[in-house]
């Protein structure tokens, strides 16, 4: 597993135009877009996914199993299919798109579509981990907190979140890594427009068609950024006592 990554990094550092390529507009734009869009995606995933995972963890409804299947579907679905499905929803003639267009709201091939694609593929990773984390927090702690005068929302902040924190961080790490490396759904749904929808994986594909060494350097950059993200989140997990 490690060998291809080392091979790629060694090759990237050995390229003659390493530094100029690294600081080229196209690479920096793609990197900026990747970081920005994945950060926004993660905020959405966390804000929506946290209460949703908590609901899944605490719910005793039998129908939850069906909800589970839908939540985990993007994990097994080829990303291209996911992109196509999103086009069917938000495209000009899509289920929602046809109603949004008259109001001037166009989602496909914009930054919003990049974010939508990332949320779609990354959210299951976070929701799965968060749900498991919440399930490990005993309901008794939450009940006890309430008998001490602390309301349900405050209890969630003061007891549930801190106790599930290592799992939440694990979920964020996995989901962020998935979002930043997202390719198939993005190219289908958002296209490959430099500076607008071209994230790092798409920029690598474009570079591959013209200059292999540029592609290699950008791939190295992506590995480095992903590694940095996972390291920071891993460090936070250790610090929080996982």
């Amino acid at each position: 597993m490690l060998f291809p990554i080392i091979a790629l990094l060694v090759k990237a550092v050995g390229v003659d135009d390493f530094l100029p390529t690294l600081s080229s507009k196209i690479a920096l734009d793609a990197l900026r877009l990747s970081l920005f869009s994945s950060a926004i995606s993660m905020i959405i995933v966390i804000l929506v996914g946290t209460p949703f995972s908590y609901f899944l963890a605490r719910s005793r409804l039998p129908a939850i199993r069906i909800v589970d299947i839908f939540v985990e579907l993007p994990l097994v679905l080829p990303p291209v299919v996911a992109g196509l499905a999103m086009l069917m929803v938000f495209g000009r003639y899509g289920l929602l798109g046809r109603w949004l267009e008259p109001f001037g709201i166009v989602i496909p091939f914009t930054l919003v579509s990049v974010i939508f694609a990332q949320v779609f593929v990354a959210a299951p990773f976070y929701i799965r981990a968060a749900r498991l984390g919440f399930q490990m927090v005993k309901v008794e702690y939450e009940e006890l907190s309430q008998t001490l005068g602390v309301g349900p929302l405050q209890t969630f902040w003061k007891i549930t979140i801190p106790l599930a924190w290592p799992s939440l961080l694990g979920g964020i790490a996995l989901a962020w890594a998935r979002a930043i490396s997202e390719f198939g759904a993005t190219i289908m749904f958002a296209g490959n427009f430099p500076g607008r929808t071209q994230t790092m994986p798409l920029a690598i594909l474009s570079a591959l068609e013209s200059d292999l060494s540029v592609a290699i350097i950008m791939a190295g950059m992506l590995i480095f950024v992903s590694f940095l993200l996972l390291t920071i989140l891993g460090f936070l997990r250790i610090k929080s006592g996982d």
Partner: protein, 361 residues
């Protein structure tokens, strides 16, 4: 004062209880597991929604079904110590205790927490996390945490169930001392009659979700007056018989049960009426030869069937025409050379026999 009643059904289990507990009083809710004790506490604490009832805590109504009024747990000001204590694992002892003190100033919090740390002998442990504490220490922290917000009612659910017998005995008296300091009404749930005797001012006995007895623990546990309660608290010898004769002069009556006759305290029962007689195993003496010059009224010959050792000594089963259980120490069993087949005399004072259910028809 805290009082109330609840009538509800939870997953097919029907709970119908009423209670009243005064400041500084410990009301013991006694019953076997599955009797509905914990459900009752959870309903009072506001952790379980009930269908019908009325609950008042320290003069404040927290639930009144007639007016569709139900206060959630965090607004009831009721301290709760669950069976496993549920100390917050990510918070130190000090932070666990101060958890419910969010509406006080930092100085007030420090003052109250320091007072509780001292009172519960936890000063040296204040920075420890719960998993570093022993069972007894955890119990003290849980109690201090529940008392910190100065609740109007304290609920204790089987406070010793997680502990071994030695620790249990030690902590029972420790808890008894700590509770003496407090003027908070306390409802304590247990299935251990020693807990009820040591800690309870009053006892409420529940079985299958219903109150079957209530009163003074010493009186009720010593002389249970209903068959259900007698078997619930493990009265080892229970016999069904009928009254042969009554002697107002002796204050006793002779009752025939199986092949033996027992002399028991007199009651308002006619000759020929059916009675249930209870005798605690610890009140049954054993002699290996006929004991002359004894005041005890019941001397019955028999043969030892078996000896069973447990944490409280040895229970000897003796066949006297009916099975009689006696509790002796290991030393006594050794001195008397007791073993299966040993011929013995069973000795029971008339006053050690009690009638259960008054009469059974």
């Amino acid at each position: 004062m805290s009082e109330g009643w609840i009538r509800t059904s939870v997953g097919g289990f029907y709970l119908d209880v009423a209670w009243e507990v005064a400041p500084g009083e410990v009301l013991v809710v006694y019953g076997s597991s599955g009797a509905g004790k914990t459900l009752m506490l959870r309903a009072i604490a506001g952790l379980l929604k009930v269908h019908k009832g009325y609950i008042e805590v320290g003069g404040t109504v927290v639930f009144d079904e007639r007016h569709d009024y139900w206060l959630p747990a965090h607004m009831r000001n009721i301290g709760y110590v669950p069976q496993n204590y549920s100390l917050f694992p990510h918070l130190s002892v000090k932070k666990n205790i101060s958890y419910g003190l969010f509406d006080l100033t930092p100085t007030q919090v420090d003052h109250r927490v320091d007072r509780l740390l001292k009172k519960f002998n936890l000063v040296d442990l204040k920075d420890q996390l719960p998993h570093h504490l022993s069972g007894g220490e955890q119990q003290r922290v849980a109690l201090a945490r529940a008392l910190a917000p100065e609740p109007k009612l304290l609920l204790l659910d089987e406070p010793f169930s997680a502990l071994d017998i030695q620790t249990r005995r030690h902590l029972r008296s420790e808890l008894s001392n700590l509770l003496n300091f407090s003027n908070v009404p306390i409802i304590l749930v247990t299935h251990d009659h020693d807990d009820a005797l040591v800690l309870g001012d009053r006892i409420l006995v529940i079985d299958s979700g219903r109150v079957i007895e209530q009163g003074d623990p010493l009186e009720l546990l010593g002389r249970p007056s209903s068959l259900i309660f007698a078997s619930l608290i493990g009265i080892e010898n229970l016999y069904k018989g009928f009254v042969l004769s009554r002697s107002a002069y002796n204050g006793t009556m002779l009752c025939k049960t199986h092949d033996i006759t027992l002399e028991v305290p007199i009651a308002e029962i006619a000759e020929g009426d059916i009675v249930n007689i209870g005798v605690r195993a610890r009140d049954v003496l054993i002699a290996t030869s006929y004991p002359y010059g004894l005041s005890a009224r019941n001397l019955i010959p028999g043969e030892v069937i078996s000896l069973e050792m447990d944490s409280n000594g040895i229970e000897v089963s003796i066949d006297v025409g009916v099975l009689v259980r006696s509790r002796v120490t290991q030393e006594a069993a050794r001195d008397l050379h007791l073993g299966p087949g040993t011929k013995v005399w069973v000795i029971i004072k008339a006053s050690s026999c009690f009638l259960v259910d008054g009469r059974a028809r």
